[in-house]
């Protein structure tokens, strides 16, 4: 049987990749996808813990995270679209109307 620590490590790696994506990519859509990757990394570790404890809490939690992620997609894409209409770009480095 795969030990829980393996789940934790893989999820940590996935989470880190997600974080790196947020920091390094300039396209808002890809930034957003990286955030989704972070959430799914969390789901993986939750699944691992839930299996270890044999409790349903972790799995229920996964379902909720998925639901929240879906809601975020709806809101997020709408917002990115709204920005695109104004700027004709989704490059996050161009978004600096307000600063200082």
């Amino acid at each position: 049987m795969v030990p829980t620590i393996a789940y934790v490590i893989v999820s940590a790696v996935l989470f880190t990749i997600g974080v790196a994506g947020v920091l390094l990519r300039r396209n808002a859509l890809i930034v957003f996808m990286s955030i989704e990757l972070m959430l799914n990394a969390v789901n993986l570790s939750l699944a691992g813990f839930a299996r270890q404890f044999g409790s349903a809490t972790g799995q229920v939690f996964i379902l909720f995270v998925l639901a929240v992620a879906a809601a975020e997609v709806a809101v997020g894409l709408a917002i990115i679209l709204a920005v695109f209409r104004h700027r004709d770009t989704v490059d996050v480095d161009n978004m600096n109307l307000m600063k200082w």
């Binding site: 974080v19 947020v22 920091l23 300039r26 930034v31 996050v92 480095d93 978004m95 600096n96 109307l97 307000m98 600063k99 200082w100």
Partner: protein, 661 residues
């Protein structure tokens, strides 16, 4: 009679209601309404204060404290920690000290309100002016009646606020707005000390109530619950607050500029009442200072040096109001000198007589300005005694009183301060009795000289009026001259009845009234070594001699001779004149330290940024902070990725701290 004490909380409330009425409706209801409300409320407060005094005399122990409602409950049913449950109440304390203060504030305040009716009669901000003035009176009364530090702080900030509002009253004038700003920033430094001192006090005592602080101070120190060092720290921090409000070294810079406000304001706020708040606060917490000899010595020597320092500057000024402003700083120094050596009665006595004669001098100066179309430069006056006879006579009374000529009011109180300073002294050689006495006497000599110089230049000497002005010179209306005469009467008679016993070295009338305030507080203290090395009448003779010599020297130099530059004092003093005139280069030093230093610091922290418009020491500090702010907000690039980076960095730091602590 007790009834007057029960309703003593109306004393600050009535002027506050006046301020509200004038502020909100004054403009619509016209000048008669504004004057009636403005003067009437202060008159009512004065009546209530008189009643409270009469009632107090009948109260055994002469102390009346009443909590109106629990303002801030600080206790907690569930928590441990120091101190039991504590409440900061909204409450007042009437004792002889507070009674004297409210009488001075409402009495002098009333006269100045009356005077303002004439002086400000043509100003378009008439209702605004009276609203501010009433608000000021209310705050000052709150300050002196509060029975705990927190409520006192409310009044403390309130008078500060009104002071800035009134300094900047003519905000169309650039210099007035700048002066208000300067006063504001300098006072923040003082407030910082006050707040920290108050917090430390609360930490150490678990209470902020004056009666409890005074009563607990000695037992707590003797039981070792509070260290003597703590008391010294608290008192020194409180003193920082006092230097700000009372314009002492090194925070005096705002007061001379405060003369940009209307003259009655200078008389009320920047001479008679608010600036004495520091002295009052020290007197109020006398028991604390009795336990901190070092702090007392610091206060005394600061006061003495300020008295001398300001006197030397005053003698080089041409602006009559500035002469008076520096003399205020100097006289406040004398009061703090007395407070530092523990002679609170003398300090309060001088506070009272000073309110009379300095209020008088300022109002008389205002009368001159009124007559000359707002000219205040001594070089453009001369021979005014013929044209302004009433102003001349009343100003003359104030002049003799501040110079210390017997038997006018100033003589008695100033002599008491110097005698007490010599007799009590402090344990430190740099603030011992003779040192303090010497500096104080020198300051008194200079005072007699520079006041005489100003007096002769204004009313005697040769006529130097502008031709256009000369045609319009006129004596002021009655609403202005009457307060002058009343204050002149007080300046003549307001000292002897309270202090004549000092002639024989006995306890004075005022002393008999006030001393119990501190006797209760200092209960159990070792008897202060009160040895008079020289009989009091000798000191009095000497002080009179000093004053007369000062006056005579000025008379020789300025009375009959036409004015010319360099004037006699300037020729005698040589290079010192320039040194004094430049305020001992202190503003220049502030400038160098705070402006250049601040700018350099800002440049270091924020990189090269625009640095125009910084010209004064206080602005320098503010400017430096502002530049740091600009620098910091440049980090706000507006870019999502840099914000995300900062979040990640923060997260890594927090995680690392939690995990590898």
């Amino acid at each position: 009679m007790q009834w007057f004490l029960e309703i003593a909380w109306w004393i600050p409330l009535v002027p506050l209601l006046g301020a509200i009425a004038n502020g909100l409706a004054g403009k619509r209801l016209g000048k008669t309404f504004v004057s009636t409300v403005g003067v009437g409320t202060v008159a009512a407060a004065f009546g209530l204060a008189l009643g409270a005094l009469a009632a107090l005399l009948a109260v055994p122990g002469r102390q009346f404290q009443r909590d109106l409602f629990a303002w801030i409950p600080l206790g907690s049913p569930g928590a441990g920690g120091f101190g039991a449950t504590f409440e900061a109440p909204v409450g007042y304390l009437v004792d002889p000290l507070a009674a004297v203060m409210i009488l001075v504030v409402t009495g002098v305040g009333l006269l100045i309100h009356v005077y303002s009716v004439g002086y400000m009669g043509h100003d378009e901000g008439y209702s605004r002016y009276f609203a501010y003035l009433n608000l000021f009176t209310a705050s000052m009364l709150l300050l002196v009646l509060a029975n705990n530090f927190l409520l006192m702080f409310v009044g403390w900030e309130g008078v500060g606020l009104c002071s800035y509002l009134l300094i900047g009253f003519w905000y169309q004038k650039e210099s007035a707005a700048a002066a208000g700003k300067k006063a504001f920033i300098v006072n923040r430094v003082g407030d910082f000390g006050f707040v920290i001192g108050m917090l430390l006090l609360f930490l150490a005592f678990g209470t902020l109530r004056f009666t409890e602080v005074n009563g607990l101070a000695r037992p707590l120190v003797e039981q070792g619950m509070v260290t003597a060092g703590m008391i010294t720290a608290i008192t020194l921090l409180l003193f920082v607050g006092a230097t700000g409000k009372s314009a002492q070294l090194p925070l005096w810079v705002w007061l001379p500029d405060a003369m940009e406000g209307p003259t009655p304001v200078s008389a009320l706020i920047h001479a008679a009442t608010m600036v004495t708040a520091g002295v009052y606060m020290i007197a109020r917490t006398g028991a604390l200072w009795a336990l901190a000899p070092l702090s007392g010595a610091v206060v005394a020597i600061t006061g003495a040096l300020t008295a001398l320092f300001a006197a030397t500057i005053a003698l080089t000024q041409y602006d009559l109001k500035r002469v008076l402003a520096y003399s205020t700083i100097s006289q406040l120094g004398l009061m703090l000198l007395a407070a530092g050596v523990g002679a609170y009665t003398a300090a309060i006595f001088h506070l009272m007589t000073h309110a009379f004669f300095k209020g008088l001098l300022f109002l008389a100066a205002g009368s001159i300005m009124h007559a000359l179309g707002n000219r205040i430069d001594l070089r453009e006056m001369g021979q005014l005694r013929r044209r302004l006879p009433q102003t001349f006579l009343t100003f003359g009374v104030g002049w003799l009183a501040i110079a210390g000529v017997p038997p006018l009011a100033g003589f008695w109180s100033k002599d008491e301060i110097l005698a007490e300073a010599l007799a009590l002294g402090t344990p430190y050689w740099w603030a011992s009795g003779p040192v303090l006495w010497g500096i104080g006497t020198l300051a008194s000599f200079l005072t007699a000289f520079y006041m005489s110089r100003a007096f002769y230049l204004a009313f005697f000497s040769d006529q130097r009026l502008d031709r256009h002005v000369e045609a319009h010179v006129h004596e002021s209306p009655r609403s202005m001259t009457r307060p002058l005469w009343i204050l002149a009467g007080l300046s003549i008679l307001g000292g002897a009845p309270f202090g004549w016993q000092a002639l024989g070295g006995g306890q004075t009338t005022l002393g008999a009234f006030l001393d119990p305030v501190w006797a209760v507080a200092a209960h159990g203290a070792p008897e202060a070594a009160h040895h008079a090395p020289v009989p009091n009448w000798v000191l009095m003779l000497f002080a009179t001699g000093v004053a007369v010599v000062g006056i005579l020297i000025a008379r020789a130099g300025y009375r009959t001779r036409p004015f010319e530059t360099p004037e006699p004092a300037q020729r005698t003093l040589g290079p010192f004149w320039a040194f004094f005139e430049d305020k001992w280069h202190i503003e220049a030093i502030y400038h160098a330290v705070f402006v250049r230093g601040g700018t350099a610091l800002a440049r270091f922290l924020a990189g090269p940024v625009d640095q125009g418009g910084v010209d004064r020491a206080v602005n320098g500090v503010a400017g430096a902070v502002g530049k740091v702010g600009t620098g910091l907000s440049r980090a706000q690039t507006g870019l999502v990725r840099s914000y995300a980076m900062s979040i990640l960095a923060g997260a890594i730091l927090v995680v690392a701290y939690f995990a590898f602590r």
